[in-house]
Amino acid sequence: MTDVSRQLICQCGCTLVLSNCTHHECGSREIITNLLNEKLNQGQSEAAIIQFFVTQYGEQVLSAPPKKGFNLAAWVTPFAALLFGVGVVYVTLKRWVRREKQNHSSVVIEEDERYTRQLEKELKEFNERSFR
């Protein structure tokens, strides 16, 4: 009973899930709950009961949009957006790591060049001195 009633919204305007509506003056809670009990006692399946209420009140009686058709967008889009976000984070991290490597290697090259120049200068001076 509770499992099914949690899938339905009370129609008294309280916007609560059926099992949560405790309003004394609520008419629809009692009607829906009685019908629900009756159908459960008749041995009807959960899906059939839910479908019955959708036919009676429209899709707004469901506490969550069914996972089909256009409503599927509500279920899928957040996770699709998250996946896209994971891609963006990965690309960003990769760029940062690559930049670090590039900067690090350019420092090494600059350092190498500096020492090479120094070495050449000193060798040149040494050679010049040795000629004297």
Binding site: T15, V61, A64, A81, V86, V97
Partner: protein, 643 residues
């Protein structure tokens, strides 16, 4: 008196428009006398709105029912605290309260002594003045609290009985301080973009503002949840109602912001992203106000329908697209030269943290507005309720909490595998052992089997981090362990305040997981003397009594409660029928322990004193409120000025 309040608002509007223009022109032309004049003008706005709100408060306290607002939201029998809380009970009053808060914050911004960022203040103040002008226009032309009736009623309608709860005194002001507080970070962000001073300066200036607004909004949400639990009488604390969601959205984005500004401060990363987050936070606060006041979505929280919706929508559009446009214009100056040595580092965990927080925000936003989208696209009305939000957000929140633990022990720049193994060994073991223990104890639900071990893991990471810090202080400074622990927190308040907030989130998670998965409910109809059993409790229905008070009829029932066969007390669930309100009010009876709440609702009764009750056993709910207290403590420590 009321006329003075109205005139004060008129003058405040004029002064705020002048201030906005004079600040911008003065700052651009470096005309300092003009800037000083703008500053004085904004201070005058603050004074004028204060006069206005004081007059409304006085009218409420002195029962001046000629004012429509006073007649609609107060009555002679209301105690002083509720009379004052009527200031934010209605649309007009809460708008005035909003404008007053913003004007006070503006005055603080202006008068604050600071060593840096003085150049940003005129532009930021100009943005605040424009926002104030918007609210003052609404207060003067659309939704004025000083509207007079053609007659003076003997008494007022009074507050909605549901609002007569201590929650009314704390919840709306806390939320509003949070909402309004985010205007200041937004204003400074805009000032930074306008002046091209895009370094850390603006972040340093707004950090505490953002933290305080975030803390107040968070506390407001928790108090709101508690209020719903004890007053609305449906047995839960969070219904994923559109207006509840509207409060959660800016809180989630600002949580992302508070984390990502650390990346900018420490590593110069995410400069543009931080701007996006602050713009989003501000826009979402206005969106929340729009939802509450437009009546576009059904909610128990909304004020009576008003014509304010289009104005808020326009304001959101202008601020959102205007600020994003400005951000795009300055995007070249916001490129960061970020670099990282390794994929595994604290930077990565912060990025993922931001992704999950924004992902969750998006999911909640989409779920909240999807009924409107469905009606527009398909012409079919649908409801998006708790099952959707729980299924979509559950995994995201768990991942987020797991990340909290991973982030705590992951260093900046790079982490070696050896370090990872060394630091995470004990926390992982703790989580694993907890998982095995609860499995042996009979826990089989996946959410519990994943959620509780994650909480154990994260808690151990925080304790491990603390113990490392204490040990180092003990060794280096020869402090005893208690002193070392105290000094550890006081010398780095933002960091350790943050850890305390993380512990608060864990406590709340334990409460939420426990109460969501293991709640038991039963609906029974009993005659006096009959009993019912739910879990380990036996409740005996003793009697029903109906009596009248000055302003209401009360139906009261008494049940004696036995726990494991031992009498532990009596519960008295009631229904109130107020004379001034059609809807009866449910007064639930709750027996609270750290382990679980026994929650009894009186649903109905017959002439023969037969009564129908809904009885729930909600495990671990107390830990949510305890977590709320710890959250406040951690937030205050993080906000507290450093010596």
């Amino acid at each position: 008196m009321a006329d003075i309040g109205y005139i004060a608002l008129c003058l405040a509007l004029t002064a705020s428009v002048y201030s906005a223009i004079a600040y911008t022109v003065g700052a651009r032309r470096r005309n300092w006398p003009l800037v000083t004049s703008a500053k004085n003008s904004l201070l005058a706005v603050s004074g004028l709105i204060s006069i206005s709100i004081a007059i409304l408060a006085y009218a409420l306290v002195t029962h001046n029912f000629q004012l429509e607002y006073v007649a609609s939201y107060s009555s002679r029998d209301m105690p002083l605290a509720y009379l004052l809380s009527a200031l934010w009970a209605g649309n007009d009053g809460s708008l005035l309260f909003w404008a007053w808060l913003l004007s006070i914050f503006a005055a603080i911004v202006i008068l604050q002594k600071r060593n840096i960022g003085q150049e940003l203040v005129p532009y930021a103040s100009s943005v605040i003045a424009v926002t104030l002008a918007f609210f003052l226009v609404l207060l003067l032309f659309i939704s004025t609290p000083f509207h007079k009736l053609s007659f003076t009623p003997v008494d007022g309608t009074g507050l909605n009985p549901l609002l007569e709860n201590p929650g009314m005194i704390l919840h709306p002001p806390a939320l509003l301080v949070g909402y309004v507080g985010f205007t200041i970070p937004f204003a400074f962000a805009m000032a930074a973009l306008l002046t091209k001073r895009l370094g850390d300066e603006w972040l340093i200036m707004i950090r505490r503002w953002a933290l305080l607004a975030w803390l107040c909004l968070g506390v407001g949400l928790i108090i709101g949840a508690w209020w719903a639990y004890v007053e609305l009488g449906w047995g839960g604390y969070w219904a994923w109602d559109p207006v509840e969601n509207a409060g959660l959205l800016p809180w989630l984005v600002s949580t992302a912001f508070l984390h990502s500004i650390m990346m900018q401060r420490r590593r110069g990363m995410l400069k543009a992203w931080n701007m996006v987050l602050v713009i989003l936070t501000f826009s979402l606060t206005i969106f929340g106000t729009f939802l509450t006041r437009s009546g576009v979505l059904s909610s128990v929280h909304t004020f009576s329908e008003s014509t304010l919706g289009p104005f808020f929508l326009t304001f959101i559009g202008v601020t959102l697209f205007g600020s994003l446009g400005l951000l795009y214009y300055r995007s070249a100056d916001l490129r960061d030269e970020a670099e990282m040595e390794s994929f595994i580092s604290r930077e990565s965990t912060f990025l993922l943290n931001n992704l999950l927080l924004i992902g969750s925000t998006f999911a909640i936003f989409l779920g909240t507005v999807f009924p409107v989208i469905s009606e527009m696209v398909r012409g079919v009305k649908i409801t998006v309720g708790p099952p959707f939000f729980n299924q979509v957000n559950g995994p995201i929140f768990l991942a987020l909490i797991l990340l909290t633990g991973i982030c705590t022990l992951t260093g900046w720049r790079r982490v070696s595998i050896r370090n990872l193994t060394r630091h995470f060994l004990w926390p992982l073991l703790a989580g694993l052992i907890l998982g095995i223990v609860i499995f042996i104890l009979g826990v089989r639900e996946w959410y519990a089997l994943i959620g509780f071990p994650i909480c154990g893991f994260v808690l151990t990471t925080i304790l491990y981090e603390w113990s490392r810090g204490v040990k180092v202080r003990h060794q280096i400074r020869a402090e005893n362990y208690f002193k070392a622990f105290w000094c550890l927190i006081t010398t780095n308040r933002p960091r350790y305040g943050g850890y305390i907030v993380h512990i608060a989130i864990l406590l709340m998670t334990i409460g939420i997981v426990g109460s969501s998965l293991y709640d038991v409910e039963q609906e029974v109809t009993l005659k006096p003397g009959e009993m019912m059993t739910i879990k380990n409790y036996t409740l005996t229905y003793e009697n029903l009594d109906i009596y009248e008070t000055e302003n209401r009829a009360v139906v009261t029932t008494t049940l004696s409660v036995n726990n494991h066969g031992e009498l532990v007390g009596k519960l008295v669930p009631e229904k109130y029928f107020h004379r001034s309100y059609k809807q009866p009010v449910t007064e639930v009876a709750i027996r609270t322990t750290l382990r679980e709440d026994l929650y009894v609702i009186l649903l109905g009764w017959d002439e023969d004193n037969t009564a129908t009750f809904k009885v729930l056993v909600n495990p671990l709910v107390s830990w949510i409120w305890i977590g709320g207290g710890v959250f406040l403590l951690g937030g205050l420590i993080a906000c507290w000025p450093e010596r």
